[in-house]
Amino acid sequence: MRLGSFLKNRSIFLLTQGLVLSFIIILLAVVDIGIYAIIYVSSFFIITNVVAFIFEYIRKNNFYKGVLQNLENLDKKFLLSEMVEEPNFDEGIILYQILKETNKSMNDNIAKYKISSEEYREYIETWVHEIKTPIASTLLIIENNNNEVTRNIRTEIDKLDAFVEQALFYSRSNNVEKDYAIRGVILKDLVNQTIKGNSRNLIESKVLIELQKLDYEIFTDSKWFEFIVSQIITNSIKYKKDNPKIVFHAIENDNNIVFYITDNGIGIPENELSKVFDKGFTGQNGRKYAKSTGIGLYLAQKLCHKLGLSIGITSKINEGTTIFITFPRGHHNLR
């Protein structure tokens, strides 16, 4: 609050005070009371006014300055009303009450959306579990009636199952911390497990699997990690070329273990590499292949971050793509 604007806002009051003062001076002059008395009365009048103004200015300035400073320092601006102390002048009290009131109303609104999005998430989870039963029974029927037709149906059911799985993990991805257990696991076991989970798809696409040294202990949640690797494998199959091949290998450094998944697929143009982890990004390859959703890698990155891992990508068009996941070491090993 500037002093200038403070005074300007009180111009009418100042003007009337001026008029009152001149009226008093004229009155005193008319009754011929003497020049000293006039100076004494008017200076008393001016001094009391100035003191009152200074006092008011300091009080208001302190309050508004505090409010603005709080607002600037706050990470979540809507918490402002919690930080402001109730002032002792009318305008401030009104502002204070407005802040409290709007904040409360916004909290109510947020709570409403929180509840509805939570309900939706719960519904999706129940739905996924419900639909797993018919998928399981279809797969059993296929297994018991193995022929050309049912084999083709199984391929489609497997895709269906993968989509259902993705929906489940998507709805859970905001609450990873509610459902995970970080344990020491051998990277090779996780990779084997994931390959087995995608075996039908990989065999049908005639993908050659090459496992290099993977006997490292890493600390992560198996379920989430397998899902991440599944998304990457699915992409490698989607964007394959002739004689597809996926190589899994890992390198141990001083303070981390880096796990590489390399394919010899169609690759990604360099100018799109920075965007592949964005939600909904499908790029040039995505336009050529209708199956792209732009969700797989987005989810993979999101989950990696929640698990404290970093994920990166390198690619060369017509040569292939490498995704690498870095497991930090050191503080994890202390257990």
Binding site: H129, S137, L140, E143, N146, S199, L202, I203, K206
Partner: protein, 221 residues
Amino acid sequence: MSKIFIIEDDDIIRTELNNLLSKYGYVCESSTDFERVIDNVISAAADLVLLDINLPMFDGYYICREIRQRSNVPIIIVTSRANELDELMSMNLGADDFITKPYNTQILLAHISAILKRTVNNETINTISHKGVILHTTKSIVEYNGQTAELTKNELRILSTLMNNKGNIISRDDIMNDLWQSDEFIDDNTLTVNINRLRKKLESIDIFDFLVTRRGQGYVV
């Protein structure tokens, strides 16, 4: 032969599991009387129980605990809910294993046979015979008219898959998928090599025209 008791409220899954397990030489029993299912399990004297979690009347956890109080029969919990808590709860209530739906049937069979191997020593499961050819799965030996030949891990797996499905054509992809389940991620060419070697071994003990190729479809014994 081992007897498996299936507790599952979905009719189709129950019937199809029944068919599948019968095909692999297990005797199956099930009950739809969920109020008295625990008594039924005990009186059936099964070697293993497959238990679903979402059931009418009582949930699977309750049934698991009740069975465990009265019997040591191995229990595999089969569920569509796949989170840490469910798994933990199943194990705490005395279940021996936990499989999530939709399961790969080969994995389910592997879990069943692993648990049975641990709990009952059943010799009959370990040999399969067809047209006079006897396969000893634990010893990895194939026998015909008193002559024997040793098989490698892959050859054994291929032959046992074919003999378990005698008379049915098994596609190359299915055989590969089967091998992949034991962490052997072989490609098409390796499978051809394995099949050829297996044929030679069979011929070395005078088994001819046993493993038949159906062009474009797969193999059959």
